[in-house]
Symmetry: C2
Subunit: 218 residues, 2 copies
């Protein structure tokens, strides 16, 4: 299976997010209402994305760090298929989000940004029912420390998938970096600026969709 392509809509402008979604929807599988976008314009953007693209999965990147069920319920009521919480927060919160997802028959994704030992933490979150994690290199760390995709990152992702859970990856992915990822069995690949910051976002999304098909289905 080729990984799903997830477009991270991280603009602060709701109309811009909807315009971007319309342009790239033909080439992606998951529309992500990014954390800054949600905080900027509120959960209604999830409702609008789902209404405009009922055939796509919509992910609400709430990154809940407390009152997990309360926030997850808000996302699912708005039509989200997936909502997120943080690997660095308490297991109590992660379990609350997962339980709420179970109630709605939808999914909870645990974002591993900042987790010192992602594989050990993934084992813990799996024990409370989580079946999807995001291996996310922090953008702030990338900018300040120059962290990038390397053998160690790929080893961690392989160890995560070996636990029998779905794994998505995010952080600085563009069409040039896809070959670095193609040895891995991935649920999803999150692309943000690799599409949204390009002169022609639709062309960038198409290039990524073609490259993913070539690399994974070859």
């Amino acid at each position: 299976m080729a990984p799903k392509i997830q477009i991270a809509l991280d603009t602060l402008d709701g109309q811009h997010a909807l315009d971007l979604a319309r342009l790239v929807a033909p080439y992606v599988d998951i529309l992500e209402a990014g954390t800054p976008l949600l905080k900027s314009v509120g959960i209604d953007i999830v409702r609008k994305l789902k209404a405009a693209h009922p055939d796509k999965l919509v992910l609400a990147d709430l990154k809940s760090s407390d009152v997990g069920a309360y926030e997850a319920k808000m996302a699912f009521e708005a039509g989200a298929d997936i909502t997120t919480t943080l690997g660095v927060t308490t297991l109590a919160t992660i379990e609350e989000v997962q339980r709420e997802a179970d109630r709605w028959n939808r999914r909870c994704e645990v974002d591993m940004t900042g987790v010192a030992d992602p594989v050990a933490r993934a084992r813990e979150v799996k024990s409370v029912g989580v079946s999807l994690v995001l291996y996310h290199r922090s953008i702030d760390e990338e900018l300040t420390k120059g962290a990038s995709w390397n053998d160690r990152a790929c080893q961690i992702v392989n160890d995560l998938t070996a636990l029998g859970i779905d794994v998505s990856v995010a952080g600085g992915v563009d069409v040039e970096k896809l070959p670095l990822l193609c040895s891995m069995s991935l649920y999803g690949i999150v692309v943000g600026r690799g599409i949204t910051a390009q002169a022609d976002p639709a062309a960038a999304a198409l290039a990524i969709a073609r490259s993913v098909k070539e690399l994974w289905l070859a």
Copy 2:
């Protein structure tokens, strides 16, 4: 100095938040746009709270876990006096939020929820310029594990203030729990349901304001 009283507006309904703020503003110092509220209705609620209450401090509880400067700038542009980030996230993000706060001459608060060793982490965040931390018992942990204010929590808060930083406390505070806190030198006391879930929120806020004055200024 008596601690500032911070009302956490954690409803998902923007109008309800504004109504609550109007009722309790005479008795509190800081109006907090809670994390679920921000995610529900967006950052414009900060603008509305500040416009209605220019004489109060407004805190945007963004709990930023990545792209810290991007989110902090959004909060300060909307009129927030304080924005928050998470002690459990990367130091790179915390530093970004603090730098953005410095640019605006406003404040960054680091929420210590889920941090294993809050005193050690506070030393680290102080080294990147942070001067305000929140010792926050997780609500989800409270509900599932029955964690509550005890001698150990008070010792941690005293160790935090001994570092020479401002410390606010949050998590299940109501008028009955104030005497447990009064031995401590606090920047702020965050009250949510202890006011907002009461039959008469204004009366509850007044009772807390009176009690704080009696206990700390006695």
